[in-house]
Amino acid sequence: MGLVKTVFLTEILKGLSLTLRKLFAKPVTIQYPEEKKPLAPGFRGRHALVRDPATGKDRCVGCYRCAQVCPAQCIYIEAERDPETKARIVKKYDIDALRCIFCGYCEEVCPVNAIVLTEFYEYSGYRREDLYFDREKLLKNWDEFIVTQKRPYFNPFWRPRGVPERKLPAAKRRAEGI
């Protein structure tokens, strides 16, 4: 290090000039509660069961695929066959959000796009039960979420880009925005 550099602290001044320049630059911080960052489509947030606009009910067919694939095993389903029509009736569809790790496997394997992780993340509860979503709560989550969205809403994981058509179930191939 030269004598001039040592005495005049040139490298420190250089650094300070950079910070001085940044002082007048546009701030990158976001004042969070007042100002919110737009979320990317397909953000893995709070769970919801999609309310089908045609029937007004959820789309779940009780195939157990989401419960089977869930790495945290936080989805509890009970389904039984209707003795007359032989159709499968979903008795119970519960998600324990406190156990969930938000990997998004459930929405990926769902053949009818019934379960979705919505782009909503500001939720909390005072008790554990508040974050144990049963079927009604999951549908309510969807209703609360969809009113905030631009319609038609389409989640990118309903028909994943770049996955060949043949590898997708029929409902996913035909998936449209709601």
Partner: protein, 410 residues
């Protein structure tokens, strides 16, 4: 270093020798980058013995993997080195694919390289931020987090999560990039090389930084190899060893990049290596984006890739055998879901060689998973790096080997 130890030895032999002063550093110490506990035996301000104690973040990832299917175990790898989770996922998927003999489509391979290098930049940025903060440079911390935020936003756009991405799949990736992501990545690669000189202006020639890093924690190349150091910590000692070049995986053999090497082997040269690596990673992303345009519209998941819902045990398939009386198919034979065997696959993760050793017994879940985590090996090198140094230097040494305790304790 050797001289200092000699002096201490002389003092030990003399009659006035007292018991060494024991300092317990951690597990809750802001500069240990997690929950690392160090027993430091001090003589004055010199470290005589350094004894790392680990295990405070042990979650049993390896054991948990044995009771999950191959696809379910992938989300556990997110939580190893949570700063570069995409690289962990890619390493795991590559190991399972090697076991299954799967060929990944080219587009998926390019995308995997992109996310790996994004993870590398994000990891090095966080490393630089915290390392500089430990040593006392606050401004760099803020600038690095600003740019890391940009990368995390791109990750959010790609797969819907910022940190625990779970983006690759066995046989490909979850979904393709869209035009918005590609544009954003082009913008990032344009802008990022101008951001690196900003950090360098602040600390590269800063005399405080130089005094804290130069000649601290010196390790020779030979010693580093013997201790099993990999990644930037090894290349800082002048050993040109990079798995991306030594054992190329994905499409790294087609790419034009240099292996960053520095020769001093101290904290400063490890810092220089990581700064160079960020530039190279940026270059790789740029090349991959150009390659991505060549295979537009191709699938991102292999034809014979397994479904995400993998059966836990073996599955039975009917065998064309005739029943002696009834004359139709009766027997079911067990067929393996994943071929029996064992496999080791290592990738160049941001912190070093990240290897997965998987043993399969033919069922849908691994029989044994062993993870060769670079942080674990690097922590074992801490005594060699820090003994004979000043007690204040241990902070710089811990920072320079870049450890994440989530990966070390698993």
């Amino acid at each position: 270093m050797a001289q200092t130890l000699e002096i201490i030895q002389k003092q030990k032999d003399s009659e006035q020798w007292d018991e060494p002063y024991l300092v317990n550093m951690g597990p809750q110490h802001p500069a240990t980058h997690g929950v690392l506990r160090l027993f430091l035996e001090l003589d004055g301000e010199t470290i005589v013995r350094c004894d790392p104690r680990i295990g405070y973040l042990h979650r049993g990832v390896e054991k948990l993997s044995e009771h999950r299917t191959y696809s379910q175990a992938m989300v556990l790898t997110d939580r190893l080195d949570y700063i570069a989770s995409a690289a962990n996922n890619v390493g795991y998927c590559l190991a399972v694919e090697k076991l299954m003999g799967l060929e990944v489509p080219r587009r998926a391979q390019i995308i995997r390289v992109i996310v790996c290098e994004m993870a590398r930049i994000a990891s090095h940025l966080l490393w630089l931020a915290t390392h500089a903060l430990d040593i006392g440079a606050m401004t760099v911390f803020l600038y690095c987090f600003r740019d890391r935020e940009w990368l995390l936003d791109i990750f959010e756009e790609i797969c819907g999560a910022r940190l625990t991405v779970s983006y690759p799949r066995i046989g490909g990736v979850r979904l393709d990039f869209n035009q918005k992501i590609i544009d954003e990545l082009y913008r990032f690669t344009e802008e990022f090389p101008h951001r690196i000189p900003e950090y360098e202006t602040l600390i590269d020639v800063n005399r405080i930084w130089l005094k804290r890093t130069k000649g601290v924690g010196v390790i020779s190349g030979e010693e580093a190899v013997n201790l099993g150091l990999t990644g930037p910590s090894l290349r800082g000692s002048g050993v040109r060893y990079d798995l991306r070049r030594a054992r190329p995986y994905l499409i790294y053999d087609e790419l034009d990049f240099e292996v960053a090497v520095e020769f001093e082997g101290d904290v400063y040269s490890r810092y220089r290596v990581r700064m160079k690596e960020m530039r190279e990673a940026n270059k790789i992303i740029r090349q991959c984006l150009d390659k991505l345009a060549e295979c537009e519209g191709e699938p991102v998941i292999a034809e014979d890739a397994p479904d995400l819902v993998i059966p836990y045990g073996k599955i039975k398939r009917p065998e064309p055998a005739l029943h002696p009386k009834r004359g139709y198919l009766v027997k079911g034979v067990e067929v393996p879901i994943v071929p029996e065997g064992e496999v080791y696959f290592a990738i160049e993760a941001p912190k070093g060689e990240l290897g997965y050793y998987i043993v399969s017994d033919g069922t849908g879940h691994p029989w044994r998973v062993r993870i060769r985590a670079p942080s674990f090996v690097h922590i074992s090198a801490l005594p060699a790096l820090s003994e004979g140094q000043m007690v204040a230097d241990i902070i710089a040494v811990i920072g320079s080997v870049d450890i994440v305790l989530g990966e070390c304790d698993r």
